[in-house]
Every structure is written in structure tokens, then in C-alpha cells.
């Protein structure tokens, strides 16, 4: 991953350019690329996280499992800097993510993280290729190169010929593959995926997971994957389980 840093500190990724070593202050004290330590967060009087801890190594694909309402999506949102925990620490590549300002966390999300959610992520007014190019355009890349970079993803994801379609003209599986391309086009260091196959039939879901894992491994992207589906979790290197706002491990390894 490379990136020209503009005045705001955002990176304007060059598609498929050689990846430089990750800059920053080094990994967390534990050597983990991403580390959540003892996170707590409540929504009103309802606790969502109660001392949740999780470490993720660089390039690792970790599935976060757990029943509905267990806090797994809240944990993902804290790791990604979307939510700030009321207690505990979130480290990303040596930085205290939870201490960054809203603007800096927003810049981090735009420049270094990718996101894919269950559904409804595409901007309906834009074509599929404009949707894919969006992160590049937002990071300051000119339209021509951004669109050209976006188009390279369509054959990779089996979306040839759908570049000009709008989201309403795509099937659920096609739309999710477009969303996946958009999440990866800027070659993020971390991909956060929250139930990425939750709205798809099993065949479409399998295709999306194969593409997600294949692309992430090729790019060396770290992936945090929230799912309640064991078949989806089986694509990960390991899984952790969130129960009642805390993280347990299935394998006896450190979460």
C-alpha cells in the first residue's frame, strides 16, 4: 500500500501500486496490529461491552462470532473508530485510536480502513463503477484514474458488463460484490466486515466470501469479520466469541 499524504493527512492511494511498509508508531505493546483492551460501552442503561479485549495480528483474518445482541458489532465499531468506548483502550498500529479526535478517526477510516456491511451500502444515484471509485475520489484521486482503478475490479469479482448499472439494477449478490470492491479498492490495511453475507443466499454468500478472503490475502489486508454464521467464520484464520459484552476464545489462545 502506498499513499500520497495530502494536507489533511489523508492518503490518496494509487491503485495496485507497491505496498510500502506500514507507517506509524509500531504495533501495540503486545505486538498486535489492532488491540482492544478492556473495552466498556453502554447504550443508555444497557451495557453492550463489558471489559472486552481482542488482539489481531497484521494480515490475520479473525471472525467475531456470538449471538444477537452479544456486542460483536459494537466491538467492531470500536475497533474501527466509529464508536469510542467509555472505558478501555483501542490501539491501531501503535496509535491510541480512542484518543484521536473525530476528524482524525474519520480520516483514518477513510484512508486506511475498508468497510463492508450486510446490505444497503451503495449510493443509489451512482453507477456501480462510481460506487467502487468513491473511496478513491474521497481521498483526493482525480476522476479518470479513480474510475480506471475501479473498473479493474469488475472482472476480478465476476461483474464484467455491470459497470454502468445502478444499485437497483443489481441482484443482492452483485451489489454486495460491488460493495466489496469499494471496500478494497483503496487497498485498506484493515477491512471491517459486519455480516457481509447476512442478506445473501448461500451460493452468493460463498462467492462473496471466496472473493473477500482471496482479495484480502492477496493484498495482505487484516480482516475483522463479524458473523453469526459458522460457515462464514470458517473462512477466517481463527474465531473469537462475544458473549454478554466480553470476548471469549474457542481455542484457548489469547483473544
Amino acid at each position: 500500500m502506498t499513499g500520497d499524504h495530502n494536507a489533511a493527512g489523508h492518503r490518496a492511494p494509487e491503485h495496485r501500486a507497491p505496498r510500502l511498509s506500514v507507517t506509524g508508531h509500531g504495533h501495540g505493546a503486545s505486538g498486535r496490529f489492532i488491540e482492544a483492551v478492556d473495552l466498556s460501552l453502554s447504550f443508555g442503561s444497557t451495557p453492550a461491552l463489558r471489559g472486552a479485549s481482542l488482539g489481531v495480528a497484521k494480515g490475520e483474518i479473525v471472525a467475531v462470532m456470538g449471538p444477537s445482541g452479544s456486542g460483536k458489532s459494537t466491538l467492531l465499531h470500536c475497533l474501527a473508530g466509529i464508536l469510542v468506548p467509555s472505558a478501555g483502550e483501542v490501539h491501531f498500529n501503535g496509535m491510541r485510536l480512542d484518543r484521536l479526535s473525530d476528524d482524525k478517526r474519520s480520516a483514518l477510516r477513510r484512508g486506511r480502513f475498508g468497510f463492508v456491511f450486510q446490505s444497503g451500502q451503495l449510493v443509489p444515484e451512482l453507477t456501480a463503477e462510481e460506487n467502487v471509485a468513491l473511496p478513491l475520489l474521497l481521498s483526493g484521486m482525480r476522476r479518470g484514474p479513480a474510475m480506471a482503478a475501479a473498473r479493474t475490479w469488475f472482472p476480478t469479482l465476476g461483474l464484467d458488463g455491470l459497470e454502468s448499472r445502478r444499485s437497483g439494477e443489481l441482484s443482492g449478490g452483485q451489489a454486495q460484490r460491488v460493495a466489496l470492491a469499494r471496500s478494497l479498492v483503496a487497498e485498506p490495511e484493515v477491512l471491517f466486515a459486519d455480516e457481509p453475507t447476512g442478506a445473501l443466499d448461500s451460493m452468493s454468500g460463498e462467492l462473496v466470501m471466496n472473493l473477500l478472503v482471496g482479495a484480502a490475502r492477496e493484498q495482505g489486508t487484516t480482516v475483522v469479520l463479524v458473523t453469526h454464521d459458522a460457515r462464514v467464520a470458517a473462512y477466517a484464520d481463527r474465531e473469537v466469541v462475544v458473549r454478554d459484552g466480553t470476548v471469549g476464545t474457542l481455542t484457548g489462545a489469547k483473544p
Binding site: 470458517a234 474465531e239 471469549g248
Partner: protein, 176 residues
């Protein structure tokens, strides 16, 4: 799975030597459990004895092959009947998982720990099978999917059981 009927089915494609039948069986269905030659030839002999196949004349030449086998009309009918029959839908009503959970509860042990370990083992196997699918061909995917769906069913049972373990423990301990 019925080895005799599967071999008979392969034989329906055309006359074959035992060697070829073993090779094809292992390729399609072996998956770590290849047939022994002795099993193949013993099975073919029984099929011939029972009128499901006939053995051709002994052939001269190098190699282990001695004779071809040809399926009979009776054999074809058996294969057709077998392919149309449903396999038993629930062969293991009492599984080892069930027995371990109930015994742990009878003994007042924490069955949740066992369920966690079992869940981890199931997920590890699912990871292996998923990787096998990603590397494999169409038939590998078909085979791995069958195992994955069964493991997933076990996992759902594990999660369902774990969620109501206290209630089950009270019931089990009330009976003992």
C-alpha cells in the same frame, strides 16, 4: 455407504476390470479411504455369484488384470432401485455429543466447558474443509459441503444447548 452397489453402479458404465473399478471408486468416493484390492475382487466375486454381474474369460497379458466384469440386467435393476431409495435420514439419534453433555450434567460437571471445546473442534474442522473447498474441484466442493452442512447442524445444536444448559441441568439432575 454400500460398496457393492457403488461398484455395481460404476460397472453399469461398461465392462471393466477390477483395477479400473478400484481406481474410479477411489477417485470419486475414496477420500482417504481407498478400497483394498482384496475387497474389490471379493466384492466382484460375490456380485458374480449373486447374478448381479458376470465375469468374462481370463485374459492373457502382463499386469494384475485377469478378467473383465459385466453387469447383468438384474444388477442394473438393483442399481436403479438403490439410487431411487432414500438413505436413512437420521442414523444417529443418540450421538456422542448428546451423551457427553447429559453425563456431564448427571455428574454435576460444567457441560459448558465441553461444549466450548467441541465448538472449537467443529470450527477447526470447518476451516479445514473450507480451505479444501477453496483449493479443490467441483466434486471436492460437493463433498466438503456435505460435511460442512452436517457440522453446521451440530454447531447449531451446540449453541442451542449451551444457551439453555441451566434448565437442562435442572431436569437431568431432577431425574437422577
Amino acid at each position: 455407504m454400500s460398496v457393492p452397489l457403488t461398484l455395481l453402479g460404476l460397472l453399469e458404465r461398461g465392462p471393466s476390470h477390477g483395477y479400473d473399478l478400484k481406481r474410479d471408486y477411489d477417485a470419486y468416493f475414496g477420500q482417504g479411504r481407498p478400497l483394498r484390492y482384496s475387497q474389490v475382487y471379493a466384492t466382484l466375486s460375490r456380485l458374480a455369484r449373486d447374478g448381479k454381474a458376470v465375469a468374462g474369460p481370463v485374459e492373457q497379458g502382463a499386469g494384475p488384470e485377469r478378467r473383465r466384469y459385466i453387469i447383468t440386467d438384474e444388477g442394473v435393476a438393483d442399481v436403479e432401485k438403490w439410487l431411487a431409495e432414500p438413505a436413512p435420514p437420521e442414523p444417529d439419534l443418540q450421538s456422542e455429543l448428546f451423551a457427553k453433555v447429559v453425563l456431564a450434567l448427571i455428574l454435576g460437571k460444567h457441560a459448558g466447558n465441553y461444549l466450548d471445546v467441541q465448538r472449537a473442534a467443529h470450527l477447526q474442522r470447518m476451516r479445514e474443509l473450507t480451505e479444501f473447498k477453496r483449493q479443490g474441484g467441483t466434486l471436492d466442493v460437493l463433498l466438503a459441503d456435505h460435511a460442512l452442512y452436517r457440522l453446521e447442524a451440530d454447531l447449531r445444536w451446540i449453541d442451542h444447548t449451551a444457551a439453555r444448559l441451566d434448565m437442562i441441568a435442572r431436569t437431568v439432575q431432577g431425574q437422577s
